[in-house]
Symmetry: C2
Subunit: 273 residues, 2 copies
């Protein structure tokens, strides 16, 4: 994380306030050829104190986004969501990944591959709204959203296809705004115009999705991992739904991906340096 | 389909008996620069008669595999499964895809991305057994099988992880044979040794899976389509579980994929020309 932070700082993407054990931070910064003089460091005795310090910074508007270090995700979220801080909104928090895929002609936003495991329809609406905000931040004014299932027809034995039908009609009736939305689709129907044509699908989203909404974490995590590990895609992620966008990258994410996630969250927090 | 058939014939992979309307077949063969003299053509007045003819060929051991043409999958299967033919076995029929993924160091077998939508554990055992047969046909003696979920830990709120734990223990106790099997895993844990190391996973399957078993069709179809359309993988597919392996490629499959599927099914039917 600190290597990504150093890169982002040197590229002029963001300034950072580091919350944690000052001595340990100093040692880590030296290890990567950086120095404590480049940061505003707020000493905290442990992970929980550090998370509280970060939550306070955000509440006081001294910071506009939070990035997780080594603290457990659950611990961080529990502290952020305390009543005394401004982070809690009551809305669904969801993960969006923005993928750059070799030879694919545009960025593809995938949500939610990891935050809400088995979303209800109500949560799926929030997930869509959050993904539309991400699209807007990266310059896509009216994104096209495909609701994914395993087929493009409504199958009354497949919940994912029925959820997609419901969300689709909600968009038709103006209950989901800011995106051209359709579903159900199999993935190929929204990423390949040829495939959509083969199936005879007439839809503004056919072959042209900017956003794809996955049925659940089992499907979403497979897509996410296949894109990174088998399609050699690059990704930036963000969690929206709280008072500020947050970055919860994991150890398995590359340093490059962490840097991209910082850049995405800076865009999302409205800070364009 | 006929173009793939022509290629397979010219490459010496298989001989073909064509069941269908003789006049139409003749016209189609001429269109692709082939001739009826190269085939044993059994005239049938319609799709159903053609399917019955194919089922009879297999029952009489005059053919060792069946490839679907324009007939609907449901119609073909219903006819194949009639009591008067030898195709019906009572076992679960499942789809396996053998993927060649650019820059990935081995073939990866994915099952079941489309035949059994939401398999029970009993069906998952059959799905694994079928995939192990596919591995054997392509020369992998003791394949490594990873049962996929979205995480590598057993999560009591995630059915896919519990199914994986059960299957894993069944393999430990010798109830699933012919493969080194473990799960649950996220996809990266079994395709990337680095990722497995990051997570501290100790398993003979970590980073080394030959076979991955997906939780359900929603997840499996996404993986399948992501590999083909975004990772530019090539695939050969087969349906095992009936009396003979069958090829049910769809219009959206490339001609190359159809050819590979023929080759795979020839291997599976024990005919090595």
């Amino acid at each position: 994380v600190l290597s990504a932070v150093k890169n982002a700082r040197e590229l002029g993407i963001a300034d950072f306030i580091l919350c944690g054990d000052k001595e340990k931070i100093k040692v880590l910064l030296e290890e990567i050829g950086d120095s404590q003089g480049n940061y505003d460091i707020r000493h905290s005795a442990g992970y929980e104190e550090a998370a509280n310090a970060a939550a306070r910074l955000v509440t006081d508007k001294d910071a506009l986004t939070i990035m997780k270090g080594r603290i457990q995700t659950g611990t961080l979220l529990k502290i952020l969501l305390k009543d005394e801080y401004s982070f809690k909104t009551g809305k669904t928090m969801s993960l969006s990944g923005v993928f750059e895929i070799p030879d694919f002609p545009r960025l593809l936003i995938v949500s939610d591959p990891g935050m809400v495991p088995y979303p209800t329809l109500e949560q799926k609406v929030d997930i869509i709204n959050n993904a539309v905000i991400v699209a807007s931040a990266i310059g896509i004014e009216i994104p096209k959203t495909g609701i994914l299932a395993s087929v493009e027809t409504v199958n009354l034995k497949m919940q994912a296809t029925m959820d997609a039908a419901v969300l689709s009609k909600m968009a038709d009736r103006g209950q989901i705004k800011g995106t051209i939305l359709d579903g159900p689709f199999a993935l190929d129907n929204v990423v390949s115009e040829e495939s959509a044509k083969h199936k005879g699908i007439i839809s503004p989203v056919a072959g042209k999705a900017d956003i794809v909404i996955v049925p659940d974490i089992d499907a979403g995590n497979l897509l996410y991992k296949a894109l990174i590990f088998l399609a050699r895609a690059k990704v930036a992620t963000t969690i929206l739904g709280g008072g500020v966008p947050i970055i919860l990258t994991s150890r398995a994410d590359s340093e490059e991906s962490k840097l991209y996630s910082i850049a995405l969250n800076v865009l999302l927090s409205g800070v364009k340096k």
